[in-house]
Symmetry: C2
Subunit: 163 residues, 2 copies
DNA sequence: AACAATAATGATAATGATTATCATTACCAA
DNA sequence: TTGGTAATGATAATCATTATCATTATTGTT
Protein backbone atom coordinates (compact mmCIF):
# COMPACT_ATOMS: atom_id res chain seq x y z
CA UNK A 1 0.00 0.00 0.00
CA UNK A 2 1.80 3.08 -1.21
CA UNK A 3 0.51 6.52 -0.38
CA UNK A 4 1.73 9.62 -2.11
CA UNK A 5 2.01 12.64 0.10
CA UNK A 6 0.24 15.90 -0.57
CA UNK A 7 -2.83 15.78 -2.68
CA UNK A 8 -3.97 18.60 -0.48
CA UNK A 9 -5.85 21.69 -1.36
CA UNK A 10 -9.00 23.23 -0.08
CA UNK A 11 -10.63 19.86 -0.51
CA UNK A 12 -11.61 18.13 2.64
CA UNK A 13 -11.57 21.32 4.60
CA UNK A 14 -15.02 22.22 5.86
CA UNK A 15 -16.17 19.22 3.91
CA UNK A 16 -15.51 16.08 5.86
CA UNK A 17 -17.82 14.11 3.61
CA UNK A 18 -15.12 14.35 1.04
CA UNK A 19 -12.51 12.58 3.15
CA UNK A 20 -14.01 9.52 1.63
CA UNK A 21 -12.87 10.61 -1.78
CA UNK A 22 -9.32 11.04 -0.56
CA UNK A 23 -9.26 7.41 0.44
CA UNK A 24 -11.17 6.01 -2.50
CA UNK A 25 -8.97 7.68 -5.06
CA UNK A 26 -6.03 5.74 -3.74
CA UNK A 27 -7.86 2.46 -3.62
CA UNK A 28 -8.32 2.63 0.11
CA UNK A 29 -11.50 2.20 2.06
CA UNK A 30 -13.16 4.81 4.16
CA UNK A 31 -13.92 2.69 7.16
CA UNK A 32 -15.76 3.43 10.36
CA UNK A 33 -12.59 3.72 12.45
CA UNK A 34 -11.16 6.19 9.97
CA UNK A 35 -14.32 8.25 9.90
CA UNK A 36 -14.43 8.36 13.68
CA UNK A 37 -10.76 9.21 14.16
CA UNK A 38 -11.08 12.06 11.69
CA UNK A 39 -14.20 13.20 13.49
CA UNK A 40 -12.35 13.34 16.80
CA UNK A 41 -9.45 15.22 15.27
CA UNK A 42 -11.80 17.57 13.48
CA UNK A 43 -13.66 18.54 16.61
CA UNK A 44 -10.85 19.70 18.83
CA UNK A 45 -8.31 22.46 19.06
CA UNK A 46 -6.13 20.27 21.22
CA UNK A 47 -3.09 18.29 20.23
CA UNK A 48 -4.09 14.79 21.18
CA UNK A 49 -1.95 11.76 21.75
CA UNK A 50 -2.87 8.39 20.26
CA UNK A 51 -4.12 7.28 23.64
CA UNK A 52 -6.26 10.38 24.03
CA UNK A 53 -7.72 9.95 20.58
CA UNK A 54 -8.43 6.35 21.41
CA UNK A 55 -10.26 7.33 24.58
CA UNK A 56 -12.51 9.75 22.73
CA UNK A 57 -13.14 7.22 20.01
CA UNK A 58 -13.90 4.66 22.67
CA UNK A 59 -16.82 6.59 24.12
CA UNK A 60 -19.00 6.03 21.09
CA UNK A 61 -17.19 3.09 19.53
CA UNK A 62 -15.78 0.83 22.23
CA UNK A 63 -15.17 -1.82 19.64
CA UNK A 64 -12.44 0.14 17.86
CA UNK A 65 -9.02 -0.84 19.13
CA UNK A 66 -6.02 1.24 20.12
CA UNK A 67 -3.94 -0.55 17.53
CA UNK A 68 -6.29 0.63 14.83
CA UNK A 69 -5.94 4.18 16.06
CA UNK A 70 -2.16 4.01 15.84
CA UNK A 71 -2.29 2.33 12.48
CA UNK A 72 -4.61 4.91 10.99
CA UNK A 73 -2.77 7.85 12.44
CA UNK A 74 0.24 6.58 10.58
CA UNK A 75 -1.84 6.22 7.44
CA UNK A 76 -3.27 9.71 7.80
CA UNK A 77 0.21 11.04 8.33
CA UNK A 78 1.45 9.48 5.10
CA UNK A 79 -1.58 10.85 3.28
CA UNK A 80 -0.68 14.33 4.43
CA UNK A 81 -3.91 14.70 6.35
CA UNK A 82 -2.40 14.72 9.80
CA UNK A 83 0.88 15.88 11.31
CA UNK A 84 2.68 14.35 14.21
CA UNK A 85 4.50 16.45 16.77
CA UNK A 86 6.70 15.91 19.75
CA UNK A 87 6.46 18.52 22.45
CA UNK A 88 8.74 17.04 25.04
CA UNK A 89 6.30 15.05 27.11
CA UNK A 90 6.71 11.37 26.46
CA UNK A 91 4.41 10.90 23.47
CA UNK A 92 3.53 11.99 19.99
CA UNK A 93 0.65 14.33 19.40
CA UNK A 94 -1.48 14.61 16.31
CA UNK A 95 -3.23 17.40 14.55
CA UNK A 96 -5.39 17.69 11.47
CA UNK A 97 -3.60 19.75 8.85
CA UNK A 98 -6.80 21.17 7.43
CA UNK A 99 -9.11 21.36 10.39
CA UNK A 100 -11.96 23.82 10.72
CA UNK A 101 -10.75 24.59 14.19
CA UNK A 102 -7.17 25.37 13.31
CA UNK A 103 -5.24 28.10 11.60
CA UNK A 104 -4.01 26.63 8.37
CA UNK A 105 -0.29 26.71 8.89
CA UNK A 106 0.89 27.57 12.33
CA UNK A 107 3.60 27.21 14.91
CA UNK A 108 3.52 26.35 18.58
CA UNK A 109 3.95 27.87 21.96
CA UNK A 110 4.44 25.18 24.59
CA UNK A 111 4.07 25.61 28.34
CA UNK A 112 6.58 23.38 30.08
CA UNK A 113 4.54 23.71 33.26
CA UNK A 114 1.01 22.62 32.40
CA UNK A 115 1.92 21.21 28.96
CA UNK A 116 -0.67 23.37 27.27
CA UNK A 117 -0.02 24.15 23.66
CA UNK A 118 -1.00 27.33 21.90
CA UNK A 119 -1.29 27.57 18.14
CA UNK A 120 -0.27 30.84 16.65
CA UNK A 121 -0.25 32.16 13.14
CA UNK A 122 -0.05 35.88 13.57
CA UNK A 123 3.46 37.10 12.68
CA UNK A 124 3.17 34.61 9.92
CA UNK A 125 4.00 37.10 7.21
CA UNK A 126 7.38 37.84 8.66
CA UNK A 127 7.85 34.28 9.69
CA UNK A 128 7.03 32.88 6.30
CA UNK A 129 9.26 35.37 4.57
CA UNK A 130 12.10 34.64 6.91
CA UNK A 131 11.65 30.90 6.70
CA UNK A 132 11.51 30.90 2.92
CA UNK A 133 14.75 32.78 2.90
CA UNK A 134 16.55 30.45 5.25
CA UNK A 135 15.16 27.43 3.49
CA UNK A 136 16.44 28.62 0.18
CA UNK A 137 19.88 29.41 1.55
CA UNK A 138 20.16 26.15 3.45
CA UNK A 139 18.89 24.14 0.51
CA UNK A 140 21.53 25.55 -1.76
CA UNK A 141 24.39 25.40 0.68
CA UNK A 142 23.80 21.81 1.75
CA UNK A 143 22.03 20.49 -1.37
CA UNK A 144 19.11 19.69 0.83
CA UNK A 145 15.51 19.35 -0.31
CA UNK A 146 13.67 20.99 2.54
CA UNK A 147 10.10 19.80 2.85
CA UNK A 148 9.10 20.81 6.31
CA UNK A 149 10.02 22.64 9.45
CA UNK A 150 9.26 22.71 13.12
CA UNK A 151 9.26 25.91 15.12
CA UNK A 152 8.34 25.76 18.76
CA UNK A 153 8.75 28.20 21.61
CA UNK A 154 8.95 26.82 25.11
CA UNK A 155 8.21 28.63 28.32
CA UNK A 156 5.79 29.19 31.14
CA UNK A 157 2.23 30.34 30.67
CA UNK A 158 0.63 32.98 32.84
CA UNK A 159 -0.82 30.53 35.32
CA UNK A 160 2.32 28.46 35.65
CA UNK A 161 4.41 31.57 36.13
CA UNK A 162 2.27 32.58 39.10
CA UNK A 163 2.17 29.17 40.75
CA UNK B 1 19.55 17.89 44.91
CA UNK B 2 18.55 21.17 43.35
CA UNK B 3 20.37 22.47 40.34
CA UNK B 4 20.00 26.00 39.09
CA UNK B 5 20.06 26.34 35.34
CA UNK B 6 22.51 28.53 33.51
CA UNK B 7 25.71 29.31 35.26
CA UNK B 8 27.17 29.33 31.80
CA UNK B 9 29.73 31.55 30.29
CA UNK B 10 32.97 30.92 28.54
CA UNK B 11 33.91 28.71 31.41
CA UNK B 12 34.18 25.05 30.66
CA UNK B 13 34.55 25.72 26.99
CA UNK B 14 37.96 24.64 25.74
CA UNK B 15 38.71 23.90 29.36
CA UNK B 16 37.25 20.57 30.30
CA UNK B 17 39.34 20.47 33.46
CA UNK B 18 36.99 23.09 34.80
CA UNK B 19 33.88 20.96 34.51
CA UNK B 20 34.90 19.79 37.91
CA UNK B 21 34.39 23.24 39.29
CA UNK B 22 30.87 23.39 37.88
CA UNK B 23 29.99 20.35 39.90
CA UNK B 24 31.88 21.22 43.05
CA UNK B 25 30.37 24.64 43.35
CA UNK B 26 26.98 23.05 43.66
CA UNK B 27 28.08 20.46 46.15
CA UNK B 28 28.16 17.71 43.59
CA UNK B 29 30.96 15.30 42.86
CA UNK B 30 32.88 15.09 39.65
CA UNK B 31 32.86 11.35 39.27
CA UNK B 32 34.46 9.06 36.75
CA UNK B 33 31.20 8.40 34.90
CA UNK B 34 30.55 12.12 34.61
CA UNK B 35 34.05 12.80 33.37
CA UNK B 36 33.77 10.06 30.78
CA UNK B 37 30.33 11.05 29.55
CA UNK B 38 31.47 14.62 29.10
CA UNK B 39 34.53 13.36 27.29
CA UNK B 40 32.40 11.41 24.85
CA UNK B 41 30.11 14.37 24.25
CA UNK B 42 33.07 16.69 23.86
CA UNK B 43 34.74 14.59 21.21
CA UNK B 44 31.98 14.32 18.67
CA UNK B 45 30.03 16.45 16.26
CA UNK B 46 27.22 13.93 16.28
CA UNK B 47 23.97 14.04 18.18
CA UNK B 48 24.16 10.89 20.21
CA UNK B 49 21.41 8.97 21.92
CA UNK B 50 21.79 7.72 25.49
CA UNK B 51 22.41 4.24 24.14
CA UNK B 52 25.08 5.48 21.74
CA UNK B 53 26.79 7.44 24.47
CA UNK B 54 26.68 4.37 26.65
CA UNK B 55 28.32 2.27 23.94
CA UNK B 56 31.19 4.71 23.56
CA UNK B 57 31.60 4.93 27.29
CA UNK B 58 31.54 1.18 27.49
CA UNK B 59 34.61 0.71 25.32
CA UNK B 60 36.96 2.12 27.92
CA UNK B 61 34.76 1.77 30.99
CA UNK B 62 32.65 -1.36 30.76
CA UNK B 63 31.81 -1.01 34.40
CA UNK B 64 29.73 2.13 33.92
CA UNK B 65 26.06 1.31 33.56
CA UNK B 66 23.45 2.56 31.12
CA UNK B 67 21.36 3.77 34.03
CA UNK B 68 24.16 6.01 35.13
CA UNK B 69 24.41 7.45 31.65
CA UNK B 70 20.71 8.30 31.63
CA UNK B 71 20.88 9.70 35.11
CA UNK B 72 23.81 11.93 34.38
CA UNK B 73 22.45 13.14 31.09
CA UNK B 74 19.47 14.33 33.05
CA UNK B 75 21.77 15.99 35.57
CA UNK B 76 23.82 17.65 32.86
CA UNK B 77 20.64 18.86 31.25
CA UNK B 78 19.46 20.50 34.46
CA UNK B 79 22.88 22.06 34.90
CA UNK B 80 22.57 23.66 31.48
CA UNK B 81 25.59 21.79 30.16
CA UNK B 82 23.74 19.58 27.74
CA UNK B 83 20.59 19.91 25.62
CA UNK B 84 18.22 17.16 24.70
CA UNK B 85 16.59 17.00 21.29
CA UNK B 86 14.03 14.93 19.52
CA UNK B 87 14.47 14.59 15.80
CA UNK B 88 11.69 12.19 14.98
CA UNK B 89 13.45 8.88 15.26
CA UNK B 90 12.40 7.07 18.37
CA UNK B 91 14.87 8.48 20.90
CA UNK B 92 16.30 11.57 22.50
CA UNK B 93 19.63 12.90 21.39
CA UNK B 94 22.09 14.91 23.40
CA UNK B 95 24.54 17.63 22.65
CA UNK B 96 27.05 19.62 24.65
CA UNK B 97 26.01 23.26 24.74
CA UNK B 98 29.56 24.55 24.87
CA UNK B 99 31.51 22.00 22.92
CA UNK B 100 34.76 22.69 21.08
CA UNK B 101 33.34 20.91 18.10
CA UNK B 102 30.10 22.82 17.85
CA UNK B 103 28.95 26.24 16.80
CA UNK B 104 27.87 27.94 20.00
CA UNK B 105 24.21 28.40 19.36
CA UNK B 106 22.78 26.70 16.34
CA UNK B 107 19.79 25.11 14.74
CA UNK B 108 19.29 21.87 12.85
CA UNK B 109 18.77 20.49 9.42
CA UNK B 110 17.48 16.94 9.60
CA UNK B 111 17.53 14.39 6.79
CA UNK B 112 14.45 12.23 7.06
CA UNK B 113 16.15 9.66 4.85
CA UNK B 114 19.46 8.82 6.51
CA UNK B 115 18.64 10.62 9.77
CA UNK B 116 21.79 12.67 9.52
CA UNK B 117 21.72 15.97 11.35
CA UNK B 118 23.50 19.08 10.24
CA UNK B 119 24.26 21.93 12.59
CA UNK B 120 24.03 25.35 11.07
CA UNK B 121 24.74 28.75 12.47
CA UNK B 122 25.07 30.89 9.38
CA UNK B 123 21.96 33.10 9.23
CA UNK B 124 22.10 33.02 12.98
CA UNK B 125 22.21 36.75 13.35
CA UNK B 126 19.05 37.13 11.34
CA UNK B 127 17.51 34.18 13.00
CA UNK B 128 18.22 35.51 16.46
CA UNK B 129 16.85 38.89 15.53
CA UNK B 130 13.75 37.27 14.16
CA UNK B 131 13.33 35.04 17.17
CA UNK B 132 13.74 37.87 19.62
CA UNK B 133 11.04 39.72 17.82
CA UNK B 134 8.60 36.85 17.77
CA UNK B 135 9.38 35.98 21.33
CA UNK B 136 8.64 39.46 22.49
CA UNK B 137 5.35 39.62 20.61
CA UNK B 138 4.27 36.19 21.74
CA UNK B 139 5.31 36.86 25.32
CA UNK B 140 3.20 39.96 25.46
CA UNK B 141 0.19 38.61 23.65
CA UNK B 142 -0.05 35.39 25.63
CA UNK B 143 1.68 36.47 28.85
CA UNK B 144 4.17 33.75 28.28
CA UNK B 145 7.70 33.61 29.67
CA UNK B 146 9.63 32.16 26.76
CA UNK B 147 12.81 30.44 27.81
CA UNK B 148 13.72 28.31 24.86
CA UNK B 149 12.93 27.42 21.27
CA UNK B 150 13.35 24.65 18.75
CA UNK B 151 13.89 25.33 15.08
CA UNK B 152 14.41 22.39 12.78
CA UNK B 153 14.23 22.02 9.03
CA UNK B 154 13.40 18.62 7.66
CA UNK B 155 14.13 17.26 4.22
CA UNK B 156 16.28 15.01 2.11
CA UNK B 157 20.02 15.31 1.86
CA UNK B 158 21.87 15.06 -1.43
CA UNK B 159 22.52 11.34 -1.16
CA UNK B 160 19.00 10.46 -0.10
CA UNK B 161 17.54 12.56 -2.89
CA UNK B 162 19.50 10.56 -5.44
CA UNK B 163 18.70 7.14 -4.02
C1' DA C 1 42.48 7.40 61.46
C1' DA C 2 37.70 5.95 62.24
C1' DC C 3 32.86 7.48 61.51
C1' DA C 4 28.65 9.04 60.25
C1' DA C 5 26.01 11.31 56.61
C1' DT C 6 24.79 11.28 52.16
C1' DA C 7 25.94 11.43 47.01
C1' DA C 8 26.37 8.41 43.36
C1' DT C 9 26.42 4.10 41.25
C1' DG C 10 24.92 -0.29 38.95
C1' DA C 11 22.00 -4.44 38.61
C1' DT C 12 17.51 -5.32 38.11
C1' DA C 13 12.76 -4.93 37.51
C1' DA C 14 9.04 -2.03 35.99
C1' DT C 15 6.75 1.23 33.01
C1' DG C 16 4.74 3.32 29.02
C1' DA C 17 4.45 4.19 24.26
C1' DT C 18 4.59 2.10 20.06
C1' DT C 19 4.92 -1.92 16.76
C1' DA C 20 4.63 -6.71 15.09
C1' DT C 21 1.81 -10.94 14.56
C1' DC C 22 -1.90 -13.28 13.06
C1' DA C 23 -6.32 -15.03 12.80
C1' DT C 24 -10.80 -12.93 11.58
C1' DT C 25 -13.89 -9.78 9.25
C1' DA C 26 -15.46 -6.45 5.66
C1' DC C 27 -15.46 -4.93 1.10
C1' DC C 28 -14.87 -4.92 -3.81
C1' DA C 29 -14.51 -6.60 -8.44
C1' DA C 30 -15.29 -10.20 -11.56
C1' DT D 1 -21.41 -16.20 -5.15
C1' DT D 2 -16.86 -16.24 -4.68
C1' DG D 3 -12.14 -15.27 -4.44
C1' DG D 4 -8.71 -11.76 -3.29
C1' DT D 5 -7.22 -8.26 -0.60
C1' DA D 6 -7.74 -4.30 2.77
C1' DA D 7 -8.51 -3.47 7.35
C1' DT D 8 -9.36 -4.67 11.88
C1' DG D 9 -8.70 -6.09 16.82
C1' DA D 10 -6.69 -9.04 20.44
C1' DT D 11 -2.49 -10.15 21.93
C1' DA D 12 2.25 -10.41 22.54
C1' DA D 13 6.59 -8.23 21.72
C1' DT D 14 9.90 -4.19 21.51
C1' DC D 15 12.30 -0.32 22.74
C1' DA D 16 13.50 3.69 25.31
C1' DT D 17 13.33 5.41 29.65
C1' DT D 18 12.47 5.25 34.94
C1' DA D 19 12.01 3.46 39.47
C1' DT D 20 13.97 0.52 43.20
C1' DC D 21 17.25 -0.63 46.23
C1' DA D 22 21.19 -2.53 48.09
C1' DT D 23 26.18 -1.33 47.68
C1' DT D 24 30.10 1.75 47.18
C1' DA D 25 32.56 6.15 47.32
C1' DT D 26 33.37 10.65 49.03
C1' DT D 27 33.46 14.30 52.26
C1' DG D 28 33.42 16.71 56.45
C1' DT D 29 33.86 15.78 61.32
C1' DT D 30 35.32 13.95 65.59
MN1 LIG E 1 -1.15 23.08 16.45
MN1 LIG F 1 23.43 20.33 17.03
ZN1 LIG G 1 1.22 26.42 31.85
ZN1 LIG H 1 20.08 11.70 4.02
Amino acid sequence: MIVSKKTNGVMGRKNPKKWEHRFREMGMRFTEPRRVILEVLGNTVEHLSAEEIYMRVYKKHPNIGLTTVYRNLYTLERMGIVTKFHFGDGCHRYELIEGHKKPDHHHHLVCTGCKRIIDYDDFMDEEIAYIKKVEKALSRKHSFDITDHVIQFYGLCKKCKAA
